[in-house]
Symmetry: C3
Subunit: 142 residues, 3 copies
């Protein structure tokens, strides 16, 4: 088989404030679309106030527990020089996103990402307002 | 040289509760096995309660300090909706894993991952019980 | 077009103590140098007390807010077995670096990394002294 590379994009409307969005099906669909059976996938969210990771996509973690953990790490009403400088309200959003990280690398095996049953690919939007988010995905392999 | 892709797997028995396992030799062995001298490696742990990163693999960090940091971020006896919903005890495990991240991307240079002397590739199992863990690895390059 | 792989390195003098260094231009320059227009990039910092992520590179976040978040997660004057064992002072540096992560994977689109306007690639040095840091970069694609 020939080695090739494929670029795709996932676009999602988010609500901000630690909104967790399940993009697993979008990721798996892009792999199928690429025709690549074995190789690597890299996904990156554009912007500095959102992040990618994997999570069991169930309401407790998604709607409450992730946000509560992040509130301990970078509280929403904390004092941030970022906010004092720019008259902004999303200092905590930048910090949470930088810590969790904007991108995710995954192997591609037998034409899909080999996730666990309770492991979903999620986009977490830490900004303080609704955003239109773009996740750029590249797949390379054969 | 020809471009190729190689898939391998690392399997480890873990004890859970922030058990840190050194998988550096397994990673370097897979690179040797692939025959790839220059390119990229992606490793991902299957499941939503474990993570991959790099760490100096010495007893202080491995047996005490990592767990103590994680206890500040997502305490074991914290109140999690995940646990209330599912009668589970591992809400903190899911949160710690999602924050540290399930995967690791690394360059391959001269047939190995160019780690520092005190920098090891580690699997951290945050679940509350022993698990059989699978880390899927893809290497691509020439 | 032919598939190829390219390896480069970014070297930076850092001050330690959560020093945030903007390496975006270095990353984009390596992509141009590679001649690769579409594919994937992986960057990894060598050593266990520094990390890579993306961040809005503005003085508030860079000089104050990131360090303040990290102080909550792994305080500089905390008690670490790592320090007691080795007579060292950088237990917090190891923990912060392991949590944020040593590497970053990014898609390459139209010959550059598709970052947001306020999203920069940064090297964060958590060590307690100035260091000469090496970031190894591999780009693969066509």
């Amino acid at each position: 088989m020939d080695m090739k590379t494929f670029t795709g994009e996932i676009t999602r409307q988010t609500k901000g404030n630690s909104h967790v969005v399940n993009i697993t099906q979008d990721v798996q669909a892009l792999i199928r679309q690429s025709g690549i059976r074995e190789g690597q996938l890299t996904a990156m969210v554009i912007g500095s106030t959102a992040a990618l990771t994997t999570l069991e996509f169930e309401p407790g973690l998604v709607n409450t527990d992730v946000a509560a953990m992040m509130e301990r790490i970078a509280p929403e009403d904390g004092a941030y020089v970022h906010e004092a400088t720019w008259g902004d309200d999303n200092g905590h959003s930048h910090l949470r996103a930088a810590l969790m990280g904007p991108s995710l690398a995954m192997p591609v095996v037998d034409g899909h990402a080999p996730l666990g049953t309770w492991q979903q690919v999620v986009l977490v939007d830490f900004d303080t307002r609704p955003r239109q988010r773009r996740v750029v995905v590249n797949i390379i392999g054969e």
